[in-house]
Symmetry: C2
Subunit: 295 residues, 2 copies
């Protein structure tokens, strides 16, 4: 065993859906956790999580049985996280760490950080991983391998931030620290806008009459299918993300609509060379992304 390996006696995962259950599965597979408790009012999902070996014990709600946990992963839709922390407060062990996996980070009240700090530490996090499928039944132990995780430490003790960082790294993630504000701006561009577009383009397509509609589905290989893949993500989760990162999402969307209109005008005015250069530039960025991925 390597010297810097970690071991956590007990963790609790609130909402062991795709992400939460995959965390449990990966931690257990790496043998760095003793006992994993999952909390979900959805009995079916809890059963799936146990059957797949993602959690050891399932509870339908937060109660004293979680009191021995050293680390908590809150994997609920973002709008429920703060409420969830309030429910955890009476049962938190001294020195434990609470983190979340939500896609919006600049949403927590100062009060919740100070309330929790008396016994524990809330360090927000966001593993950028997932598939278009949801629920524990789709959990995979390799979900986090070679992906990025962003941690937004809000004046948290450095020691605990390092500890959480280490957990994600053990699951194969590269970890980046930044402010919650930076995180939310970046995500509005790289994730929230693409999803918003995907949901919308599907709507634009189905507004067409049935005859064309059927053809749309048949001939979706030309680009449309890629867009619909991310459009099949969880509706509750994404509603929460758009509403909780509203300002950034609207700003980014407005920029994008302006850029679309500019491109529209280039086509409308037959500006052949400008169109060519516009597309060429996009191709260059793509190449940069591939190069980054390979490094």
């Amino acid at each position: 065993m390597k010297k810097n390996n970690i071991f956590i006696k007990q963790i609790t995962i609130v909402g062991p859906g795709l992400i939460g259950a995959s965390i449990g599965l990966a931690l257990k597979q790496k043998k760095i956790v003793g006992k994993v408790i999952g909390i979900d009012k959805n009995k079916k999902n809890l059963d799936d999580a146990i059957k797949k070996g993602c959690i050891d014990i399932g509870l339908s709600k937060i109660n004293e049985k979680i009191a021995d946990s050293d680390l908590f992963f809150l994997c609920t839709p973002v709008s429920q996280i703060e409420e969830c922390i309030k429910k955890l407060l009476p049962f938190l062990k001294k020195g434990s760490i609470v983190t979340d996996v939500g896609s919006v980070k600049n949403i927590f009240s100062k009060k919740i950080f100070s309330d929790i700090r008396k016994v524990s530490d809330f360090i927000p996090g966001h593993p950028i991983a997932g598939t278009e499928f949801s629920g524990a039944k789709n959990a995979t132990k390799g979900l986090f391998e070679n992906k990025w995780c962003i941690i937004t430490p809000e004046n948290n003790p450095r020691k605990n931030v390092s500890k959480l960082k280490k957990v994600w790294e053990t699951l194969g993630m590269r970890v980046s620290l930044m402010t919650a504000k930076e995180h939310d701006k970046i995500m509005s561009i790289t994730s929230h806008l693409p999803h918003l577009i995907a949901f919308t383009i599907v709507g634009t397509a189905i507004n067409h009459n049935n005859k064309v509609g059927k053809s749309l589905l048949n001939f979706s290989a030309g680009g449309f299918r890629d867009f619909t893949r991310i459009a099949s993500s969880d509706a509750e989760m994404w509603r929460d993300i758009f509403l909780n990162n509203k300002n950034n999402v609207l700003d980014t969307l407005d920029e994008f609509i302006n850029d679309l209109k500019k491109f529209r005008d280039l086509i409308d005015c037959n500006r052949s060379e400008d169109i060519y250069n516009f597309i060429k530039k996009a191709k260059t960025v793509r190449k940069k992304i591939i190069d980054l991925k390979q490094n």
Copy 2:
């Protein structure tokens, strides 16, 4: 050998790029073609096509050496197809068939159809297949398997349409016949709009300052990377598509921008339930696409 198998003595592929070279490769692999001639002024691409076994003979321009060909695939950017047919005219064998693979179909003059009909038959086609890579070096024999091909017969003799249909089916494609007008409307939604969006969102992203810019590339796994994949498609090809299907592209884009604005307003006004239903509906369409694919 099955009774309904076909054999073509000689074919000519003008512009053996990704699509053209893959056609040659697939036809040769299925052993349903005698000799394949490729025409390209790009010497390097021609060499790649020969080296990969996509074509047997490479020519730098259209000349009398193609005169014995039974079938012609025109795989140039769409703006060059009609010009290309004019150059072919002096060398066309009686009873031969000319087709193309362009992404826009309602662009050919009546004159070109009647000019060619004296000796041959021009039957426009569009195999909906491709990758984000271009050139003969990326050709694959399985590129057309289980994909759709649209043929837009413009009063062409039924016999020749059937013959062309059979060729595509032999390469594993499902073939649909429709008018050029229908094709261009459908493609503006399922293919041209997704590409236009992909090119634009990459631009929106890189308009941000360098600090955020670097992060955008790092954290692109949340949806952005999927969009950049199709943004790395060939610039000349896509400029031609946008300009040649201008009316449909602009109409579809305007509808999409309107739909984006509606979604924007739902977020802006915190219309939680409407947002949820909007996303849910997109998910349903996605399911239909998957179901169709499995059938």
